[in-house]
């Protein structure tokens, strides 16, 4: 400081001044739970179901336990378009009975959703009775956070909401009971899954061509 105190210098800048108010204190927000909207939503129709089995299992990453999977169903579902449309924020988790399902396509408008649901292979058949199984959209969440207790709660809530076994849509296509076999997930994607998406959601040509890269 050479000649003047800083405060005196600053005071020369203007006629009057005063020190500002103290820190605005307010509590930090807490993370709000994902909004539930009108979920659960059971407006789901089954259009086609293709059982599959693989030689090499893959990891089902759509639930917290990340189980290994070597069989299941590829499902084609007619659902409300808003629930099928991909979002970066929370999506409604798709449940099939006691399992989470993987969304395999991203329909903007059609509401035709192709999903993969794991199920055990018993005596050469995929052990999931779709005629008796509810399929519904549960609460908004990241599927990687959904575990067995959460699935149980979601199923109970769906039951309370009157959601029962999935209905077949008017365009239902019967599939053979015997599973389609593929060596691994890559082959399943490039063949059966790509074919299903191409047939039911033809506007998603980029997705189909990408899946067929081998």
């Amino acid at each position: 400081m050479k000649k003047l105190a800083v405060v005196a210098l600053l005071a020369l800048l203007v006629v009057g001044f005063s020190v500002g108010r103290g820190l605005a204190s307010r509590p930090q927000q807490t993370r709000a739970p994902a909004p539930l909207s009108s979920l659960p939503d059971g407006r789901v129709e089954l259009l086609e179901a293709v059982p599959f089995a693989l030689d090499t299992p893959f990891v089902h990453e759509w639930r917290a336990e990340k189980p290994e999977v070597s069989a299941g169903y590829l499902l084609v579902l007619k659902v409300p378009p808003e629930l099928a449309r991909p979002r970066q924020t929370y999506e409604a988790v798709l449940y099939v009975g006691d399992q989470t399902a993987e969304r395999c396509n991203y329909p903007e408008e059609s509401g035709i959703l192709v999903a993969l649901v794991p199920a055990p292979l018993v005596d050469g058949h995929v052990d999931l009775d779709l005629a008796q199984t509810p399929i519904w959209f549960g609460a908004l969440e990241l599927p990687e956070r959904v575990d067995a207790p959460r699935i149980a709660r979601e199923r109970a809530q769906a039951l309370r909401a009157g959601i029962g076994p999935v209905k077949r849509g008017a365009r239902f296509v019967a599939a053979p009971a015997a599973p389609a076999f593929a060596r691994d997930r890559g082959e399943l994607e490039a063949t059966y899954l790509a074919d299903l998406i191409e047939r039911w959601s033809p506007e998603e040509s980029d997705l189909v061509s990408g899946l067929r890269v081998r």
Binding site: M1, K2, K3, L4, V6, V7, L9, L10, A11, L12, L13, V14, G16, F17, S18, V19, G20, R21, G22, L23, A24, S25, R26, Q28, Q29, T30, R31, A32, F58, V59, E61, W62, R85, P86, R87, Q88, T89, Y90, E91, E102, R103, Y106, E108, L142, P143, E144, R145, D184, R185, G186, D206, L207, S209, G210, L211, V213, R214
Partner: protein, 672 residues
């Protein structure tokens, strides 16, 4: 080199060094009358300015001005006769005035940017031959040094170079698809067709968002590959969440580096520089790359072919923030100290930035980063505009950019970003720091293009700055982070509110929340700033610099960021760039004042999007203002930069906009 070996010339060189000055730049319509800049676009006017009032050595000198290619500077230092790249040397005579009276237009037409090179910009030095001997010797003055050119001329790196392609650089590009055999292990790879001649090239990895496709990033792949990068966009497991997405990024990067031989017949073997990797992610993938980097910091075992130090830059396009600041001892989406860049679309109708959605506020990720931070915000850009997959832009609001305008802006920013961070290319800095209104790449949308509005933040890493006030480490409004007093005029003081930059309610409706429209901090984030307002009267806000912190001669710039507060009556009163002045004062009462609009920009008005409550105006969009400290010394200013006692902001009708309400933050001194 022409006749003599360089070593001999060096031995014969004049011993004394020349005085170094900033000379090249552009004239300004008001004080400080001239802006010394680092980069010019090809064809842009280049002016030269001298300030004999601050530099008496130059007073009344007659000078011969030479512009030389920077790579030839050693030869001129060694005694080679000067030859100007502009043709005949420019003869000028200086008077006793300042830059206002001593600015001269250079015929920069012959000066080209780099050609047939992957380096942006070609360096030139300005030599003022004081003793008229056409040699570079002791009496002369030079803009340039051995380390850095005086200025750079930058070529068009945005426009497509070859008809029917998306290539902007010197190389043709090969695109190839690669399937590595596993789940989410499909890759779309772009590389220069002549890669066999090019040695090792940096790797740019792109991780798409939910519902997107790995083949939707040609606008980045062809662009960067044509400039000498290997670009790989991979299928990304975003559906389950951020952890699975980050696994895709980690795994696909590893696969490409470990199994290079399998790609396109081994064309890339020996040509990927695994120590220079850039990760770019979009939406959930944009958060995924941040989380992937954090996982590496935490010792994740997936990467075996590269280490955390090999990731040199992480960039997110419209990222989500599911993981937040962390909880229960678990890390959140916090990238740490690696350079981090963020894209935000003002029209994004998915990751929309509304106050009611913490996971939709992109700026949280920028604020958590600890190193160099950069941000690019585009009014009118939708979520889908950051990819090239066609279909919906996923946009809402007025004046939409769509992909036609978004992509050239992206190309114009991405390449300087990558070359600046990876290579330290000095020609790139101006594209990252100067406001778009004032300087933008050739080929990027012109300023008069309807709807184009770009806001930039450039926030130096801690080692490159000294904080005056970050409004965070010292919560009292009356004291700054550096320990000095903060004083405000009587009209301004009651309006000051310091706090977390987080809109407290669920909308942008003007509601009395002092932080209305702020989305920089999410739950648990400490990022704080100052809000203030003025209306019709002149006001000031002064930051005292404590003793021991008043010598600014080691710093290059004063930097801060500011944003207009959305939907506020004082913002709506004057829609447009907001203006005010910045003043430095020394202990001898010498003051120097610069209006921020002098450089051609201001503080941008909010994007006038409706929704998220009542009214129009989206989230408060901060942009950086960086003022060269030497500009305060211009044209006879007696300000002593070694003894600055206060930095002040002057608001009101005598200083710019008559009314305004702004957020202010990150008041710092920077070294470059």
């Amino acid at each position: 080199m022409r006749a003599l070996p360089l070593l001999l010339l060096l031995l014969a060189s004049p011993a004394a060094a020349q005085a170094t000055r900033e000379i090249a730049g552009k004239p300004l319509g008001r004080y400080p009358h001239f802006q010394f800049v680092t980069s010019f676009n090809e064809g842009e006017p280049i002016d030269l300015a001298f300030d004999p009032r601050a530099d008496p050595y130059l007073a009344k000198r007659a000078l011969e001005i030479y512009v030389v290619a920077h790579e030839e500077l050693p030869e001129f230092r060694a005694g080679r006769k000067l030859e100007s790249r502009t043709g005949k040397a420019l003869a000028v005579r200086l008077n006793l005035g300042g830059v206002l009276e001593n600015t001269f237009r250079l015929d920069g037409g012959p000066l080209r940017g780099g050609a047939a090179t992957t380096v942006l910009g070609r360096g030139y030095d300005v030599i003022a031959d004081v003793n008229h001997n056409a040699r570079l010797d002791a009496p002369d003055v030079i803009d340039g040094s051995d380390a850095r050119a005086g200025f750079y001329v930058v070529q068009d790196f945005v426009s497509f170079k070859r008809e029917g392609t998306k290539e902007t650089g010197p190389f043709s590009v090969v695109e190839t698809l690669f399937f590595a055999g596993g789940q989410f292990q499909r890759q779309d790879i772009y590389y220069p067709a002549n890669i066999a001649e090019l040695g090792e090239l940096p790797l740019v990895v792109i991780s798409h968002g939910n519902g997107h496709n790995y083949q939707w990033y040609d606008h980045i792949g062809y662009h960067l590959a044509s400039w000498g990068y290997v670009v790989m966009s991979h299928s990304n497991n975003t559906g389950p969440g951020i952890d699975t997405a980050s696994t895709s990024t980690l795994r696909n990067t590893n696969i490409l580096l470990n199994r290079t031989v399998e790609v396109d017949g081994g064309a890339l073997v020996g040509h990927i520089d695994r120590h220079h990797i850039v990760w770019i992610g979009h939406s959930r993938g944009g958060e995924g790359v941040v989380w992937a980097y954090r996982r590496m910091l935490n010792g994740d075992p997936i990467p075996t072919a590269y280490g955390v130090g090999d990731i040199r830059l992480v960039s997110s396009m419209a990222p989500t923030d599911f993981r937040g600041s962390g909880f229960g001892g678990v890390f959140g989406s916090d990238v740490g100290a690696v350079p981090y860049h963020l894209w935000t679309g003002g029209s994004d109708n998915d990751v929309n930035g509304c106050a009611n959605c913490d996971i939709c506020q992109t700026f949280h990720l920028l604020e958590r980063a600890d190193g160099l931070r950069l941000s690019t915000s585009l009014h009118g850009a939708g979520h889908g505009d950051f990819h090239d997959g066609g279909g919906s832009s996923v946009a809402a609001g007025p004046c939409l950019l769509r992909r036609d305008l978004t992509h050239p802006i992206m190309r114009g920013y991405l390449l300087p970003l990558v070359q600046f961070v990876l290579d330290g290319n000095p020609a790139c800095r101006d594209f990252l720091t100067r406001q778009y209104e004032e300087f933008r790449p050739l080929g990027a949308p012109a300023l008069d293009t309807p709807c184009v509005s770009v806001d930039l933040m450039f926030l130096d890493e801690p080692g490159e700055r000294r904080v005056i006030d970050d409004f965070q480490s010292e919560p009292a409004v009356g004291r700054s982070s550096s320990g000095g007093e903060v004083l405000a005029s009587a009209g301004l003081a009651p309006t000051l509110v310091e706090g977390r930059l987080d809109d407290i309610n669920a909308s942008f409706t003007e509601s009395g929340d002092p932080m209305n429209g702020m989305t920089l901090a999410g739950p648990g984030d400490p990022s704080a700033g100052l809000v203030l307002e003025w209306s019709g009267a002149d006001e000031f806000l002064s930051f005292e610099l404590p003793a021991g912190q008043r010598d600014l001669s080691g710093f290059a710039r004063l930097s801060f960021r500011a944003a207009q507060v959305t939907r506020d009556a004082l913002t709506r009163a004057e829609l447009g760039d907001l203006d005010f002045e910045v003043e430095l004062a020394d202990s001898d009462l010498h003051r120097s004042t610069i209006r921020i609009s002098a450089y051609g920009g201001g503080i941008e008005e909010p994007y006038l999007r409706g929704g998220c409550g009542e009214g129009n105006g989206w989230g408060n969009e901060f942009e950086s203002v960086r003022i060269a400290l030497d500009d305060f010394r211009r044209d006879g200013s007696a300000l002593d930069l070694t003894d600055v006692v206060a930095v002040s902001f002057l608001f009101g009708p005598s200083h710019g906009s008559a009314d305004g309400r702004i957020g202010l933050d990150e008041l710092v001194l920077t070294r470059d």
